[in-house]
Structures are given as C-alpha cells and as structure tokens.
Symmetry: C2
Subunit: 212 residues, 2 copies
Amino acid sequence: MSRWAPNAHERLQAAAWELFAENGYEATTVAQIAERAGLNRATFFRHFADKREILFGGEDALSTAFVEAIRAAPVGTAVSECLEAALTAAGELMTSEQHRRAGQRRRAAEASVEVQERGLAKNARIAAAAAAALRDRGAGESTAQLGAATLMLAFAAALREWLDDDDPEPFAPYATRAFVALRASALELAAPSRSSMGPRQTSNAPRAPTAT
Amino acid sequence: MSRWAPNAHERLQAAAWELFAENGYEATTVAQIAERAGLNRATFFRHFADKREILFGGEDALSTAFVEAIRAAPVGTAVSECLEAALTAAGELMTSEQHRRAGQRRRAAEASVEVQERGLAKNARIAAAAAAALRDRGAGESTAQLGAATLMLAFAAALREWLDDDDPEPFAPYATRAFVALRASALELAAPSRSSMGPRQTSNAPRAPTAT
C-alpha cells in the first residue's frame, strides 16, 4: 500500500458509498472503507475528518451551484428568479447516483443525532453562502436571509418528495412545485390582514394564489 | 453533601452562569459548577447531559412561548399576526438577566463549533415546534415551514441587535423592526417580476406586486 495514492479521495468515497449501500452507514467502519479502497486508515484521515464527512461530501457542489447561479443572473433579476435559477442549477447535480446517496444520508440521519447535527451545520453553511451571494447583488439584509431560507426550504421539500419516489424522476419538477408553493406562502406571510388561516375567505388580493 | 438537593437544577444553573460570567464558558468545568452549587459531579449529570445543556437551558421556554402564542391567536388570525404574537411573547422572556446569558452564549458559540452545532439543533427543534403549531391552525405545509423560518430569522436578527446594545432595552422594538423588514422581504420574494434587486424602483404596490 503506497503512501502516494492516485485519486485516493475519489476511491475512498466510492468505497464508502458501496459499503453504506451493502451494510448501512452505521455498520460501516473507517477501516473497512480504507481496506475496500486499497488504502489505509491514515490515508483516510488525510482526506476526511471522519465518516460523516463522506456522507456530506456533496455540500460544496450544492453550495457552489447555488452561489454561481445567483451570481450569474443578469442585473435587475428579481430575487425569486435568482432562487429559481439556483434550484435549476442544483437540479443538474441530482443524478440517480445522488438519489441513492441522499436516500442513504436520510436513513443515516434518522438513526443518528450526530449525523443530523452535521446535516444542520451543512445546511447553515450553504444558506449563509446563498445569503452572501444575494447580498452581493444588492439584496437587503432581511431579503438575503429570507431568500436563502426559502431556497433551503424549497430544496429540502423537493428532496423529500424526490426521495419518496423510488424511481428517481428528474429533480427539476419537484423543485419547481416546492418553490411555487413557497412563493405563494411568502405572499400570504406578507399580507398584514386576515388571510387563509382559519375559515377561508372567498376573495383575495388579485395576484394572491389560493393556499393549498 | 447530601444526595437530596432541593432546587439542585436551579442551583446548578445559577452557579454555572456565575462561573461563565467570571471565567468564560470554555474555562468553566463541570466540577467547578457542582462545587459552587454545593453539589457533586454526579448530581450535575443527573440534571444535565453536559455543560452545553446549561448554555441552552432557555430552549424550552422560548419554544413554549412561540407555540402558546400561535395557538392562542383567535381563529382567522393571519399567519403574520400569529408570528408577531409569538415574537411579543418571546420578548417577555428577554430580561436583563437573559441579555447577559445570551451574550455569554454568543461568545461561547463564536469560540466553539460544538456550541454552534448545539445551537443549530436547538433552533431546528424550535422551528419545528412553531411550524407544527401553524399547521395545527390550518396553515398549509409550505406556509407553516416558511412562517416558522421567518419567525426564527426575526428572532435571531432582533437578538443580534439587542445584544449589540450593551444597555439592554426592551426586546419588543427590536423584534418588531426585524419582523417588519422580513415581511417586506416576503412581499419582494413573492413578486414574480423585477423588483428591488439591481436598480431600485420608485413605487411598490401596497398589497400585491406588479406582474410582468
């Protein structure tokens, strides 16, 4: 086993995801991952802080997709259009391989508070990056924060539904549905008057969608 | 040191906050907290899982304040009014003692990833409780989620500004300012058309954004 391992990072990731699929995340050890990759534990720890890091390896890709899409939108693009562009860009990452991995990650999170906490920390970093990208375009502080929160909620809702479907369809329609619902909710939240809580009213402001 | 310790929970909390103020969170040990309270380590661990639990001891109170205020709002109350009521109720918890404690918590979080992660987990639980309370009133799923997220953002923004002021004013005006800004942001996000990103427009429609 040489210290110089070409593509060690990718080999360790591939080995880990194979083992997670075979035996589950909890039952897989770092030693097993290293062995499957033909490497040793020391090499593993040169590439990853711990096993959870592999589970959340897609964080950078998602964050980059969001940030680049927000940055790339033409000057004058509405916040909601920036967020839609970010979701579209994220959708391109959501391959059938990602469907398997995200399902694995969800099962691991259901079984472990530590995994949940790592996921929350990951989401907080992605949201902060998206908020910074919106701020850089001139969005006010609360719009940047709420925009990033809406983006994360749309992505999470779309991901849940996408994962609930065993046969992974393209991600985009899930993301669109989630975002349209959230935009309607934003309008409802913005309304200072009585709206769709409790007994339904028969009329709404002209552009307000009906709550579902 | 008797095993039966009246008010052990409160005595441990008070001792811990005294020591955090004197020596900082990081430098304070569980042994010191127990000693200051006239108790032993075993008693500490019967009451708290770890030192971080003391730092986040207010979680239940905040969550309860949010949930009860949302539940208590009359039938037909708009979501935004439920959220305002929740912030008002939370404001009543924000005493000058809380100002000191929240400042301590912020410094501890700045110095420790573990404290940050516990804080994120706490916020996720409070948001989930608030979303459930909105759902129970008949709010749709995305409105419950976005409403809870908006509530958490408003509380966090108000808390930041409140803590930045050394002399703690009542919390309510901070919460109101933060919420008004977020409600305007919600309207901006709901707008499908070009809005305030990039060149500013001079007028906004009072109830509904202009369509393109």
